[in-house]
């Protein structure tokens, strides 16, 4: 009979402890997988904006075509500018309708008149955007200039916060899980004192006695990690339309299946480490053979 069979028997004989341990591990891995997805997602959004050095200047109502052409011509002559694209009120309405095609109420309320026309100015380098934006702001027909610098700064701050908060939560839950596994396996070792004593006397090797307990801890970790991964993946599928609606241009969703498989592998490795550390701690602390 293998170590795995012994571990399976130990798990079957105390199902409530097994469920409790797996649930704690689920919580830890839910936090870990969510944190990693948020971190990877925000990083991708950040890279998207950093790789697109573009400023958008919105025109006031009543701006004439001549004014717009003059600004376009001036920009086209600037060596820092790569491309200038004019977006009329009708184009803006088309974009708006495309983005909100699933929400008829939003479509009914909006007409081309209330949307501003704009020019999208692409620059060679992100550092060129600030001086171009300053030039545009000086134009009397321009009402507002949006530079991705602001978006990038906000995103950088957001990403840093996610890393700090997520990292702290995951670290805390990891330590908590190791201790829970240590306690549960330690409790089981104490419960099985007689069995361990008899096994020692009939010639069981220390590994033969230890390994089922270690495997049990790893099993709880793996169950928690796989279930949390499935749960988060399902949640992502459910949220895909909402995410697309908000940041569809970044192409975040649907999430690359390879990324998810990699995430599962990482979670499984973490599960083996957490479950293994907890159970080995218990074996060292409570199993004197």
């Amino acid at each position: 009979m293998s170590y795995v069979d012994f571990a399976k028997r130990n798990i079957r004989r105390s199902p409530f402890q097994a469920i409790a341990a797996s649930m704690v591990m689920f919580l830890t891995f839910f936090a870990l997988v969510t944190f990693l997805i948020l971190a990877a997602g925000s990083q991708k959004i950040l890279q998207f904006y950093e790789s697109k050095p573009q400023a958008i200047a919105f025109f006031k109502d009543g701006t004439t075509d001549a004014d717009i052409s003059a600004i376009q011509n001036a920009l086209a002559k600037d060596a820092r500018v790569v491309k200038v694209k004019y977006v009329s009120k009708d184009d803006a309405l088309k974009i708006y309708r495309e983005r909100n095609k699933n929400d008829p109420t939003l479509l009914d309320l909006v007409t081309a008149n209330i949307l501003p026309s704009s020019v999208e100015v692409s620059a060679n380098f992100p550092s060129d955007l600030a001086p171009i934006a300053d030039l545009l702001r000086q134009e009397p027909v321009v009402s507002e200039v949006v530079v991705p610098e602001d978006v990038v700064a906000a995103l950088t701050s957001f990403t840093t916060t996610i890393r700090l908060v997520g990292g702290s939560v995951v670290t805390f839950l990891t330590l908590f899980s190791i201790l829970i596994i240590l306690m549960i396996i330690g409790f089981k070792i104490r419960l099985r004192r007689d069995e361990i004593e008899i096994m020692r006397l009939i010639g069981a090797s220390p590994n033969f006695i230890r390994m089922p307990f270690v495997l049990e801890g790893i099993f709880y970790g793996l169950v928690g990690s796989v279930f949390s991964w499935v749960f988060v993946y399902a949640l992502l599928w459910y949220l895909t339309p909402f995410i697309k609606n908000y940041i569809g241009e970044v192409n975040l969703v649907p999430v690359n299946p390879l990324f998810m498989v990699g995430l599962l592998a990482l979670a499984a490795v973490m599960a083996i480490i957490i479950g293994g550390l907890g159970s080995m701690g218990a074996v060292r602390r409570y199993l004197h053979i």
Binding site: M1, F6, L201, I202, G203, F208
Partner: protein, 228 residues
């Protein structure tokens, strides 16, 4: 062959459990260890299973000094020994079959071998029909038969029995003794610590009498000394 060569075992500085004991037990011999409580019978058995080490002296089993065994070699050494306890020490959450199978699982036998050997031994000790029962569903005699089956299923060279009839009525005690006698007839060395004078006097086997940690008598076909 088992040899105790000037073995002394002290607990702490003042308690002497065994005092300069020298003893030789041949392969296939049936030996009773008798004596009052605290005479050193259980200590002698615990020294043989390497649960504890002597303070001085050597213990040889098959010419190997067990006091010099490395920790890693102890499990292999213990597989030569079957142990029977007064309180049976069966695992409550396992059936009779599973309790006996444990010995073979530890030895790394295949499931097929385990099934075959456990069936054979349970039939031999006449509890095959109880194989699916749990220890709490067994009588004292059935529980001790299960313990004997567990001790001998791995075909050990030596069987140590610490008061195996202590908790049994007269009739059951005799049936257990007959079983141990049969195990002995296979060539297995049996060393049995007991207080049961009737069994010792009837069986006419070797009797080693201990008192206050010392051997006070060693007779080939001995009797229980009531004065001990």
């Amino acid at each position: 062959m088992v040899v105790f060569d000037h073995v002394t075992k002290k607990y702490g500085t003042s308690t002497v459990a065994l005092d300069d004991v020298s003893l030789e037990i041949k392969q296939g011999e049936f030996t009773f260890l008798v004596g009052p409580s605290g005479a050193g019978k259980s200590t002698l058995l615990r020294l043989l299973t390497r649960e504890t080490l002597p303070t001085t002296g050597k213990i040889l089993v098959d010419s190997k000094d067990t006091t010099k065994l490395k920790d890693a070699d102890i499990p292999t050494y213990r597989r030569k020994i079957g142990f029977i306890f007064q309180d049976f020490k069966l695992l409550d959450d396992r059936t009779v079959f599973e309790n006996v199978a444990l010995t073979l699982e530890v030895l790394g036998k295949s499931e097929e071998e385990i099934t075959k050997q456990v069936e054979h031994i349970l039939k031999l000790v006449e509890i095959w029909d109880k194989r699916n029962l749990f220890p709490r569903q067994l009588s004292g005699g059935e529980a001790q038969r299960t313990a004997i089956a567990r001790a001998v299923v791995g075909k050990p060279e030596i069987v140590l029995a610490d008061e195996p009839t202590g908790d049994l009525d007269r009739k059951t005690a005799w049936s257990v003794l007959q079983l141990l006698n049969e195990v002995n007839s296979w060539g297995t060395t049996v060393i049995m610590a007991t207080h049961n004078s009737e069994i010792v006097n009837t069986l006419k086997k070797r009797v080693v009498s201990l008192n206050k940690g010392a051997i006070v008598r060693d007779e080939a076909e001995g009797k229980y000394d009531k004065q001990l």
